[in-house]
């Protein structure tokens, strides 16, 4: 059994950062808690660097076969670390000099670590451990503000998560019972002979947990309430980062562990994808609160992402499409949330009236991110959607692609409901208080994420080879 720690440096860095932050936070006076913020950012940067360093020697399975380090894990490592870094930037204003500032960053690092473990888990038990590690800190983050919407959000998030977790554990038990192993590569062979009914129930139950992490139908009920109830940085985090791990884990579970002969999972995922994008869009139509609107938009995005998972068994380009879309989605979604965070007083779409006049830069980021989420070229999501659509048609899901195209058009409606007021001249008289900007950090994050979204679309050619490859089997 290989138990090398070298390839695990990115995970170890995050864990060490969290532990060090917790310890140091206990001793530092409150006005010097910002040190922890720097520490957390440094941990993310170190994880990024370590991934870049180890990426050359990819494709190894560690600790037996239980942890896979391949293109999916590496991509999720990079995107999660970068996204966490951006969220740390966003949070600077919200939690500065908060009495539990250190805990905030520690929880952020732990949830990020759990997400990466989810993506790399090549064993059902490790998958569940990753699930818990990614979920529990996120519950606490959701209620961090200790106000009533935040508490409600945390409770709802926790109850849904606990339910999905129980389902997942049941599924793990079933698969273990029928396949007599928890290791993915071994399950691939043992499940063929297992009773298909039990395997199907097990797969559905485990999928339920991962769909909860992905914020996809039918485990999406927490998304709008948590996004609306919690602080904007946390909302940005929980709608972006867990999705990365959940979807990568789903891809790995279904392609590596579940033999296609045992369960017709492609159809199941395709139906869930269709439901996710459609329900997310329909619910977003008449939302006036920008955070709720974005929340439903992330549900529909989960649907497009699931398309790539649905055809993973039939198309060799599916992993690349999914991983690129994950990266594109993360920066674009964070850019949109960063604009929301930069204008903390503006909570409804009508409040954005006159934005172009007052903050042309933020308006530009809003255009890039919202039209980016639609999939307008040349942003990153366009390139991602192009690949996902191509992969889906290639994999025989023409109907799903047509539905996704129709949903894309429909989504335009609510994104434009938000964009159009931004371009109207503002109300006459003194500047409205709704468009008072927050600190510069959130604005800087908005610029960074918006620029990254554009760059990833135009210069996608430099990134695509890095996310191309096969999962370890």
């Amino acid at each position: 059994m290989n138990e090398r720690l070298g390839p695990l440096i990115p995970e170890i860095t995050l864990a060490a950062g969290a532990v060090a932050g917790l310890l140091a936070g206990s001793w530092l006076p409150r006005h010097r808690q910002w040190v922890i913020r720097l520490l957390a950012a440094a941990a993310c940067l170190a994880a990024l660097a370590a991934t870049a360093f180890t990426v050359a020697g990819t494709r190894t399975a560690d600790f037996g076969t239980s942890y896979a380090i391949d293109v999916a894990t590496n991509t999720v490592r990079v995107v999660v670390a970068a996204a966490t870094l951006l969220v740390i930037g966003l949070s600077a204003d919200t939690v500065q000099a908060h009495k539990r500032e250190a805990e905030f960053y520690v929880l952020l690092l732990l949830a990020a670590l759990g997400t990466i473990v989810l993506a790399g888990a090549n064993d059902l038990l490790l998958l569940f451990a990753g699930y818990l590690l990614a979920s529990v800190p996120a519950y606490a983050l959701a209620g961090f503000a200790k106000d009533s919407p935040g508490t409600e959000a945390a409770l709802k998030y926790y109850l849904m998560g606990a339910l999905a977790g129980v389902a997942m554990l049941t599924g793990v038990t079933l698969l273990y019972g029928t396949g007599r192993t928890t290791s993915y590569p071994l399950l691939q062979t043992t499940l063929v002979a297992a009773p298909h009914g039990a395997v199907a129930v097990g797969v559905i139950a485990v999928t339920a947990g991962l769909l909860f992490k992905s914020g996809a139908v039918p485990a999406h009920f927490w998304v709008p309430d948590v996004t609306d109830g919690t602080t904007t940085p946390v909302a940005a985090f929980v709608t972006t980062v867990p999705k990365l791990g959940g979807l990568a884990a789903l891809l790995r579970l279904l392609t590596v562990a579940i033999p296609a002969a045992a369960v017709n999972w492609p159809l199941l995922i395709a139906v869930l994808a269709a439901a996710s994008m459609t329900l997310g869009n329909l619910a977003a139509f008449f939302q006036d609160s920008v955070k709720r609107l974005l929340a439903y938009s992330t549900i529909s995005q989960a649907g497009y992402l699931l398309m790539a998972v649905a055809v993973a068994a039939r198309s060799a380009t599916a992993p690349r499409s999914l991983l690129f879309y994950l990266a594109a989605y993360a920066v674009t979604n964070l850019a949109a949330f960063a604009v929301v965070a930069a204008l903390p007083q503006a909570s409804t779409v009508a409040d954005y009236r006159g934005l172009t006049r007052q903050h042309p830069g933020l308006a530009a980021v809003l255009v890039v991110s919202l039209l980016g989420l639609v999939g307008t070229p040349p942003t990153a999501v366009f390139l991602a959607k192009l690949q996902v659509f191509t992969t889906a048609i290639d994999g025989g899901y023409g109907w799903l692609t047509a539905l996704a195209a129709a949903n894309t058009v429909a989504s335009l409606f609510y994104y434009l409901r938000w964009l159009t007021p931004a371009f109207l001249p503002g109300p006459a008289g003194p500047r409205p208080a709704t468009l008072e900007p927050a600190d510069r950090a959130a604005t800087a994050v908005a610029y960074t994420a918006g620029a990254a979204s554009l760059a990833l679309g135009i210069a996608g050619t430099t990134v695509l080879p890095l996310v191309t490859g096969h999962l370890i089997r």
Binding site: L386, F389, I393, L464, P465
Partner: protein, 499 residues
């Protein structure tokens, strides 16, 4: 050469955005005029340096996103070069016209420069994704032009309608492109390779679906009946220069797509369903003319004549797909006419929309019933409007006649009944333009609002409208310089469709 032509306006826009806000507004417009004039010169140089018999000229082909089979491949031929030239000229004229614009000029100029890059880039594209990127961005740019500089709240609704319609079309187009991409071995988005490979030959229902997706996407943009309902509100609400660009350039993206993509890449399917396109073309031509006849608003009327004129293009393109009972020469004539019509419509309708902008500027309404007898007060305005109207209804010695004559001659043999019906469209257009001229310019003087001076054309307005009409007359009188470029490309298309 081509990347410079395409990206020069966008680079200029970025430079202008960096200027401080207190720079006077005329600086921006003059910068736009300068950049557009440079573009016209460059396109002229490209025209001189292009050999029509050589197929694609001025090509550049570099890898963009090789993993997905996307290349930055650009080039011109006899189909795209005239449209590039028309686009460059029309943007220059829109720039000159905009000297009188006063509202948020900085953003206005930058937005138009962006649209200019997008439009030129589309016509130069030889890769489906490059084409699609510009196709989609044109929608985004025009949305902001209509919503930001239109006439109030109705403009926002019109802009939204425009965006939703054309974006739906563009996604259908994207699905069609993906269908082409997947059919080609190896997978590619390269137009030249796809034209050569004819990947959907003999692919039955799949080929039919791809043509359906591509044609639906292009038909929304063109627009043809029944997808034309976004057009009248978008035109009515847009500012004059925006309308001119929308009608003159953006509509051509649809018709150009038919001859550039649908016909040569899906020849078998095109031949099979040619009659469908002929019928849609004729219905658009006649229906567009009839509805235009019923309009009380001058601008709405011109908008509907666009549907009519685009119908002729589709008739010519469809007739070129009917092989029975015609010669290659006749079919080539139909395609040549269709491309000429794109150029001609761009010039004439561009001029008409700028003139309708003048009308609105003076009287604050497009309602023709509000005006009467303007000819005595504004002779230049009346004269230019009359020339543009006569050109648009297809009077000989102007470009519209050359175009429509070729389309009808080329289509007559293969689609006799359809052509006969389409000629009715000419009659109706003639009637509606003459009636409009009579109502607005003849009779006793009457103008809306206070009896303030109803001023004749400003020099900037003359300088923007007259050259468009002069170009149309030049094509009408001495068309060889244009036809010599279009004809070889049209013959190539005919050969490709017939294989």
């Amino acid at each position: 050469m081509l990347p410079v032509i395409v990206f020069l306006p966008a680079a200029a826009a970025l430079a202008l955005l960096a200027l401080p806000r207190r720079v006077p507004r005329t600086v921006f417009v003059w910068a736009w005029i300068g950049v557009s004039a440079a573009d016209v010169t460059l396109v002229g140089a490209a025209w001189v340096g292009y050999d029509p018999r050589a197929g694609f000229g001025w090509t550049e082909n570099t890898a963009w996103i090789p993993t997905v089979g996307i290349r930055y491949h650009v080039g011109v031929d006899g189909l795209s070069l005239p449209l590039l030239a028309m686009t460059a000229v029309l943007f220059l004229m829109a720039a000159v016209y905009s000297l009188r614009e006063t509202r948020r000029v900085r953003s206005y100029v930058c937005l138009f420069l962006f649209l200019q890059t997008v439009s030129l880039g589309l016509f130069a594209a030889l890769d489906l994704i490059v084409f699609f990127v510009f196709f989609d961005l044109s929608i985004v740019g025009m949305y902001f032009v209509i919503a930001g500089w239109g006439h109030g709240e109705a403009a926002r609704a019109a802009a939204l309608k425009f965006f939703l319609y054309t974006f739906t079309g563009s996604l259908a187009l994207l699905l069609g492109f993906i269908g082409l991409y997947l059919a080609a071995r190896p997978h590619t988005f390269d137009m030249v390779t796809l034209i050569r490979a004819n990947p959907l030959a003999g692919r039955g229902a799949y080929g039919g679906l791809v043509l359906l997706a591509v044609a639906a996407g292009l038909a929304v943009k063109t627009p043809t009946v029944p997808f034309h309902t976004w057009l009248p509100p978008a035109h009515t609400e847009a500012p004059a220069a925006g309308s001119a660009i929308l009608a003159g350039v953006l509509l051509k993206m649809g018709t150009y797509g038919f001859v550039r993509i649908a016909m040569p890449m899906l020849p078998g399917q095109w031949r099979r369903y040619a009659l469908v396109f002929v019928v849609i073309g004729v219905v658009s031509a006649v229906y567009g003319a009839l509805v235009a006849l019923a309009q009380a608003s001058f601008k709405r009327m011109i908008a509907y004549t666009s549907v009519n004129h685009m119908g002729y293009i589709l008739l010519g393109a469809g007739a070129a797909g009917i092989l029975a009972g015609t010669s290659a020469q006749a079919r080539s004539l139909a395609v040549t006419g269709a491309v000429t019509q794109m150029v001609s419509h761009g010039l004439l309708t561009g001029a008409l929309f700028l003139l309708s902008g003048v009308l609105f500027d003076r009287g604050h309404t497009y309602d023709m019933a509000a005006y009467s007898g303007l000819a005595g007060r504004t002779p230049v305005f009346a004269g230019l409007t009359a020339v543009a109207a006569f050109g648009s209804l297809g009077i000989p010695a102007m470009s519209g006649f050359i175009a429509e004559f070729q389309i009808f001659t080329g289509s007559l043999a293969s689609a006799t009944a359809a052509t006969a019906v389409a000629v009715l469209g000419i009659l109706i257009t003639a009637a509606l333009f003459l009636r409009a001229l009579q109502r607005v310019f003849l009779g006793p003087l009457r103008r809306p609002g206070t009896p303030a001076a109803f001023r004749d054309l400003h020099p900037a307005e003359v300088a923007s409208i007259a050259p468009l009409l002069a170009a149309s007359v030049a094509i009408g009188v001495a068309p060889r310089f244009l036809l010599d470029v279009i004809e070889p490309a049209a013959r190539t298309i005919i050969t490709l469709v017939a294989r």
